[in-house]
Symmetry: C2
Subunit: 204 residues, 2 copies
Amino acid sequence: MTLPRPRTRIQRKNITAILEAALEVFSQYGFRGATLDQIAQASGLSKPNLLYYFPSKEAIHAALLAQLLDTWLDPLRALDPAGDPRQELLAYVRRKLEMSRDFPRESRLFANEILQGAPRIMDAIEGELKPLVDEKAAVIRGWSAAGKIADVHPYHLIFSIWALTQHYADFDVQVRAVLGEEGADPFPEAERYLDMLFTKLLAV
Amino acid sequence: MTLPRPRTRIQRKNITAILEAALEVFSQYGFRGATLDQIAQASGLSKPNLLYYFPSKEAIHAALLAQLLDTWLDPLRALDPAGDPRQELLAYVRRKLEMSRDFPRESRLFANEILQGAPRIMDAIEGELKPLVDEKAAVIRGWSAAGKIADVHPYHLIFSIWALTQHYADFDVQVRAVLGEEGADPFPEAERYLDMLFTKLLAV
DNA sequence: ATTTAATTTGACCAATTGGTCAGGATTACG
DNA sequence: CGTAATCCTGACCAATTGGTCAAATTAAAT
């Protein structure tokens, strides 16, 4: 059995550049709307050079989705059943909002996939996300039953956390346009607002 | 001056079919990712036939966006400064959720435009949406100052209504996949959940 | 029934798209 | 330094894309 060669300096440089450029283009235009020429140009390579590193447009896209899914579930996984319910949920909200602030394009890549009907990530949704959500929903339901937090529908609670945090990434241009100069950076106020919203919602 | 001829039976039929088909395709794939062939096929016409009614792909898309923008702002416009603040805001939430339920593709068309950086609707956002939001934000701020509702950041309140209601349309495939068979129709529970969320949030 | 207007579409077009490939250029390594 | 490996790209390809157009067909008006 042959060991795969370690990645060369140039490979590491160019693969990074390609994925960075592809994230920009795919997150904006989706899979069908993105072109290899756009990605090649944005990465500073020629199209055949880009295809030297990735066999196809599909492969680039798949690599991005794999990266995304590798980290997207971590915040929900971190929800500790043994922890303080309110702190755990507020920490989850904060973590999700931070991700929207720090990885807006990844959020938009995901949104784009969902808008298309999730053709490439439905396996991951059904196979990983759903079981995880089911598990955490049961935890939340237990917390409610024990009177530790208000009685809320666990699934809709989780959806609301996703909706409220991802919105700042996915609809970023709208949020910034509506806020104008006054709200140059929406995230500090968003964090305060969401903290308050969920604190009140969960209060017994 | 020549009066425009009224639309013929066939024109009405075919223009409707084209816009219906185009809404399906554009809301899924965005402008760049959609093709005239797809739209033609979905509308039951040939491509040249489709182009007999609309001069270009751009023109079809523009017609859809014009329709969308014509109705999208109505619920916020209906927020009555003289009404009961809590009832007005809860009515707005309900109306927005109904729109997500009844016009999910329109919501996704809008989301797609925003993900692309809003290249074709930024004039409408800055020229119509922002002034309207500014106006209603001032109303909400007045309500808070008068102690009629809790002191919340008006803009983030409005964003949260958009985020929470549109999510059910935009992320519909994810919501339904996570809920599985148990949540065949998420909207009744969503309405209850959002009523409660905003009731608690706005409570003084 | 005839004429005029509207509608439909196969064939075609230039440009774009996701790729392929051979050969030259650059890099890495002994 | 020489050589092997890696990297790069102009030229090319078939398929697709947003259209165009003239002639045939259908619908509406007289």
